[in-house]
């Protein structure tokens, strides 16, 4: 088992983008796993869905996470999901997000957590 070359990874971002650096850490982790050709799924869960909000204009000296999300596909991060219930609770409409993330309802969430080799929460 230890000689296997790839492990699928679910990276779970549970933090809003600018209060702490955890959302950025989650994106960096997803990109790193993708860069080393591991199958990566990135999930924004709960408070993490704020990271997907459109119209972000962070001040100078702060990395623009909304824009960074746009580069995920270039790094090969295949699938990006957003917690549908959390989006609704926060008044975020899917069409207004900074990235076309796939809304995940609870059955999809359960499947994501049950089907990846590794789950890394940030």
């Amino acid at each position: 088992m230890s000689t296997q070359r790839t492990r699928s990874v679910l990276v779970v971002c549970r933090s809003a983008p600018y209060g702490r650096s955890r959302a950025r850490d989650a994106i960096d982790l997803a990109m790193a796993f993708a860069a080393f050709e591991q199958p990566v799924t990135l999930l924004f869960l709960g408070e993490g869905v704020f990271t997907l909000a459109g119209g972000q204009q962070p001040p100078a000296g702060t990395r623009h996470l909304g824009k960074l999300l746009g580069t995920l596909a270039d790094y090969g991060v295949g699938q990006v999901f957003a917690d549908a219930a959390a989006l609704a609770e926060r008044g975020l409409a899917v069409r207004e997000l900074a990235l076309a993330a796939e809304p995940a309802h609870d059955d999809t969430l359960r499947e994501l957590f049950a089907t990846h080799d590794r789950v890394i929460t940030v």
């Binding site: 960096d28 790193a32 591991q38 890394i120």
Partner: protein, 130 residues
């Protein structure tokens, strides 16, 4: 079984960091292998050699360093997280003309690829944070 750990938080004042160390000790005592511990974000503060811990408290940087020496565990602090937080090794200190080295023996600075490799090589990856 082969384990790898990911540690998100600082050694001082965080229960999860105590838990990570206890978990590591116990799996080694059980005859398992700890391939690598990857310290990320505030977790890199584990790799300072300049901390002074009161005698009645647990000195996690020192404990990890000893554990690594005894059991051949790789202790890697994320270089991107570390440099921002004042954790520098000799090479970095020289390159940036800093007057001191803060990285503790037994730890090394490296990139996220080390975490990816650990994820591929291990049977179980356990995350500690909060």
């Amino acid at each position: 079984m082969i384990f790898a750990l990911l540690v998100h938080d600082a050694p001082v004042g965080r229960h999860s960091s105590q838990a990570a160390y206890r978990f590591a000790s116990e799996l080694l005592a059980g005859g398992h292998t700890l391939f690598r511990v990857f310290f990320f974000g505030d977790g890199v503060h584990h790799s300072t050699r300049l901390n002074l811990t009161p005698g009645n408290e647990t000195d996690l940087p020192q404990r990890w360093s000893r554990l690594a020496a005894e059991h051949g565990v790789d202790l890697v602090s994320c270089v991107g997280s570390a440099l921002r937080r004042g954790i520098v090794d000799e090479a970095q200190a020289r390159q940036h003309a800093l007057e001191a080295v803060s990285l503790r023996d037994g730890f090394e600075l490296s990139g996220l690829g080390q975490l990816v490799e650990a994820s591929i090589r291990c049977d179980r990856l356990v995350v500690f944070g909060g």
